[in-house]
Amino acid sequence: MNMLFIYALTGTGLFFIGFYALIIHTNLLRKILALNIMGSGVFLVLISLAMRSGHSSPDPVSHAMVITGIVVAVSATALALVLMLKVVDITGKPDLHDQEDE
Amino acid sequence: MISDNLIPLFMIMSSFLPALMIFGLAEERKNLRRSLNLIGVVSTLAFVVYMFSGVYQGHHYETRFPLLPNIDLVLLAGPIALFFGALSSVLWFLTTVYAIGYLEGSPHRSRFFGFFSLCITATLGVAFSGNLITFLIFYEMLTLVAYPLIVHRGTEESRLAGQSYLMYTIFGGALLLLGTVWLYTLTGTLEFTPRGFIENVDEEHYFALVSIFILLITGFGVKAALVPLHGWLPLAMVAPAPVSALLHAVAVVKAGAFGIILVVYEVFGVEKAADMGLTQPLAVLAAITIIYGSVMALYQDDLKRRLAYSTVSQVSYIILGVAIVGPIATIGGVVHLVHQGVMKITLFFTAGNFAETLGIHKVSEMNGVGRRMPLTMTAFTIGALGMIGVPPIAGFISKWYLGLGALQADQEWVILILIGSSLLNAGYFLPILYRAWFLPSPEKWPHEHNFGSRETSLMLLIPPLITALLALIFGLLASSPYSPLEWVKLIASREFY
């Protein structure tokens, strides 16, 4: 149980590190990476919470959720990267500043 | 034949459907538009007359439609409803004829007449509403459909006037909604009842009831041009003359006054309102408005503005009659709804004639107009004298009953107000009459249109003559059984005994 708890804690830590990075950086690639790290953090938490007492195998539903989440993360990252390239194409820089003045 | 319960709905439809059809017409289809207009007007009038006679024979006309849980949309042909409804439909008929003549050759007539028609739909809905929610709905509808008429000319000036109008009326509408919903949470019903429906509310809600009264009166007071809520009215004069006539004599302003009448008589009950100490402040406010309006009118050179301030002042006679608790004062106030209507519309019609025929917009330009346009000026004179209160024109009857009612209710100060305002009225109307009849005309009128042998087009001439005649008849024959006065006596009796 102890190891799993540490995993869960790590996952949460990753989540918050990613969150911080998402907000602080203006560079789009870093933001996208930050989101990925946040995602990994969540998945780590989900898996480490998947151990059930009284059963010999871990909970498959949690695993199913993580697999779905990974698939979603992949597609989302792909979309994000394409969009980032479009932004670079049009503005010349991969930056997203705090709020554009209209 | 048709069920009694559908007649009020048909009456509303007979102005609503033509409006929708007119919207769809191209500008050039003049004749079709005229026909639709007149069909709408005549059928509406027919329905009102039908209900009028039916009620005498004991029929009951009521349309109900569930709107919200426990609250219906109700159209009901009661005595007050028929009174206001008859005024509105007859005057609308005349105004439509006038407007057709006035807007000859103007752009966007389809849009204009469509909204014009919708205004009467809304006004009749207001007149025939059977509960506060129905009233509110049609009242707000009136706010909205009158707006395109005010900004019709499309100038920056009219846009600003429209903006001012909306600011005031939407604000009033918000207060009305709050008051209505609040009242509902206290009483569980909103149906208009003679002598009010709030008896069952506990004493502990006294403060709430007073607040509701203030909210409702303020909300209605905006349209009724109660000081200090009257600011939009003089600005709205930028609209074409038929619009001013409609707004000031028939629809918007009267709807506000009508709302106040209903709040005092059929929501709170006049005796209950007096017990709560609500009527005296209202009377004072009305008195202030009467004097203020008349004083401001003295300073206006623009004819329509002078008439606008006169309206501000005159509508408060109605409110004053309502606020002085007593059957005779009630009669005076409520009958003024009709009397002021026919007199004021005459004045606006004639003002429009002067503008259209001779390009006159200011009082100072009216020298000698009586010789150039004698019939129009006669109508104006009758209207003006009626406003002052000269017998035997209808205005005198209203003021007489107001005065008597004040005495009966021990409110002698009101007599001073009546005398003072009549003097002020004389002060701003008599000089016009003098100028028009007795001074020589200028070399050249500001902008003259020639109408051949007649002084102006027939469609512009006949309506004011008819309304002036009505003002005379309502006064002369006030004691005959079908006069507005007798009808109002019937209404008043339901509220007091």
């Binding site: 539903v61 969009l83 554009e100 | 919200l68 509808m141 909205l144 499309g154 903006q163």
Partner: protein, 487 residues
């Protein structure tokens, strides 16, 4: 025959039709318009039949593949889901009719597959009964919506889409984290099961904070609304309509469901106050910003921010025991969807017509585009909450609920909100009548673009007349009651 119709699995079709339509329109992209129109019509028909069967037989429950909860996926439709589905179908039809003429052939190829995917996602969301299915549906909708936003191909569109993507992904991750915790804490993903198992522990409230935070971000409640104005205002008009009218409501719907079944019965009043406060802030801030805008599209976007505030105000009142307030929530959501989509379609027309959407330079639109003007006016009436409209009914219930609970602050905010919205709506309308100082070339607007806007706006008004029918539909399955007692 009737019996046969009622046994067909309409819920499945509601998801399958648009999915299939999306794939077909992707493969056969030249016929996008026709495929799209056919599909959305099928969706509308399915909704009607589903409604019919629900009205006859109470709620609808379909167990996919025969695998029951907690492992399988159930599709469940009660009155609330049905109203949301009807809203989606109606708005969807309106936007589809508009989109046929709006897009160029090139854009059209990309629009239809994504659009139909979103419809599938929305339907799936409204029919789901477990919290993970919500996640999947949210992601499907979110990614497709971002792509649609970027369809505008302009700098603003890409930046707006990027911001939207980052915000929506953040929201989803927060939500997923919460789902994981909730699952671990109470052993099931199925909502009905969870509602039986939950207890007020720290785990519950942490997961609520996470899920709630994510959903609030997706619903753009003040102050988490920052991504909405750039995204909604830079997308093509039909997409903006979709975003403001439907997608915003989807995350709001999840929040309501979670509250009703899981978190609500254990709440102690703090959440209500927070929602009420934020809602009030949204109304004031959104309306104030709307008033300041010179471009119409931004004005309409900020109007959405304000209207979301109304939804949360009603939510807050409903949470603290006002059953009337649930009626307000339903009417406000439904009428806003119809009216706001109509408004964005109008803006699309104006942009196409004059080439710009500067408010003061609107040039006598009332004369030249009367149908569009009427659409904007009617939609505006519903947004302001003037009678007679769905928005009025919603505001009425809201006011009644606030007065009954003696929440005077809410009453004042409500009135202020109405006045502010009247101010910015009429500011726009007044410029419809006046000529502009700088004339612009004008283009012809296809009839279906004008009529789509008008019909949607009319629907918002008609909603006000048929409130009792709508209320009786919503009550099917008693979504707002928990074991007999109204929440």
């Amino acid at each position: 025959m009737m019996q046969f119709i009622m046994t067909l699995p309409w819920a499945i079709m509601l998801i399958l039709f648009p999915l299939t339509g999306a794939i077909i329109s992707f493969l056969w992209s030249k016929q996008g318009n026709k495929i799209g129109l056919v599909t959305i019509t099928f969706v509308l028909i399915s909704v009607i039949f589903l409604a019919w069967s629900i009205i006859e037989q109470d709620v609808y429950l379909h167990t996919i593949g025969g695998w029951d909860a907690p492992l399988g996926i159930n599709l469940y439709a009660d009155g609330l889901s049905l109203v949301m589905l009807i809203m989606t179908a109606l708005v969807g039809l309106g936007i589809s009719i508009y989109a046929i003429s709006y897009f160029s052939a090139d854009q059209s190829k990309r629009f239809w597959p994504l659009w139909l995917l979103i419809i599938a996602g929305l339907n799936a969301l409204f029919l789901s009964s477990d919290i993970f299915n919500y996640y999947v549906a949210l992601e499907l909708i979110g990614l497709a919506a971002v792509s649609l936003t970027a369809l505008g191909n302009t700098r603003k569109a890409f930046l707006g889409a990027m911001r939207y993507l980052l915000a929506t992904l953040l929201g989803s991750l927060l939500y997923l984290f919460g789902v994981g915790l909730l699952y671990h804490g109470f052993g099931s993903l199925d909502i009905a099961t969870l509602s039986r198992n939950v207890q007020s522990t720290p785990v519950l409230w942490v997961s609520f904070a996470l899920m709630g935070g994510g959903l609030l971000l997706k619903t753009a409640l003040f102050p988490l609304h920052f991504w909405l104005p750039p995204a909604h205002s830079s997308a093509p008009a039909p997409v903006s309509a979709l975003l403001s009218a439907l997608i915003i409501k989807s995350s709001f719907y999840i929040l309501i469901r979670l509250w009703l079944s899981i978190f609500g019965p254990l709440g102690d009043g703090t959440v209500e106050s927070i929602f009420g406060l934020l809602g009030a802030g949204a109304i004031l801030w959104g309306s104030f910003q709307a008033l300041r805008q010179t471009r119409l599209k931004l004005l309409v976007a900020y109007s959405t921010v304000a209207q979301i505030g109304y939804l949360f105000l009603a939510f807050a009142l409903a949470m603290s025991g006002g059953s009337i307030a649930w009626n307000a929530v339903v009417f406000l959501a439904f009428s806003h969807a119809l009216a706001k989509s109509a408004m964005f379609l109008v803006v699309g027309n104006l942009l196409r017509f004059g080439g710009h959407d500067e408010i003061i330079h609107l040039d006598r639109v009332a004369q030249r585009l009367p149908i569009t003007t009427a659409a904007f006016a009617l939609a505006g009436i519903s947004i302001i909450g003037l009678p007679l409209s769905g928005g009025f009914i919603g505001k009425y219930f809201l006011l009644e609920s606030a007065l009954l609970q003696e929440q005077w602050g809410f009453v004042i905010i409500l009135l202020l909100g109405s006045l502010l919205s009247a101010a910015y709506i009429f500011k726009v309308i007044s410029h419809f009548f006046t000529p502009s100082s700088t004339p612009h070339d004008s283009k012809i607007i296809p009839a279906n673009m004008e009529w789509a806007a008008l019909l949607l706006a009319l629907a918002a008004i008609l909603l006000g007349l048929f409130s009792s029918s709508v209320l009786s539909i919503v009550d099917i399955g008693s979504p707002f009651e928990l074991e007999g007692e109204k929440l």
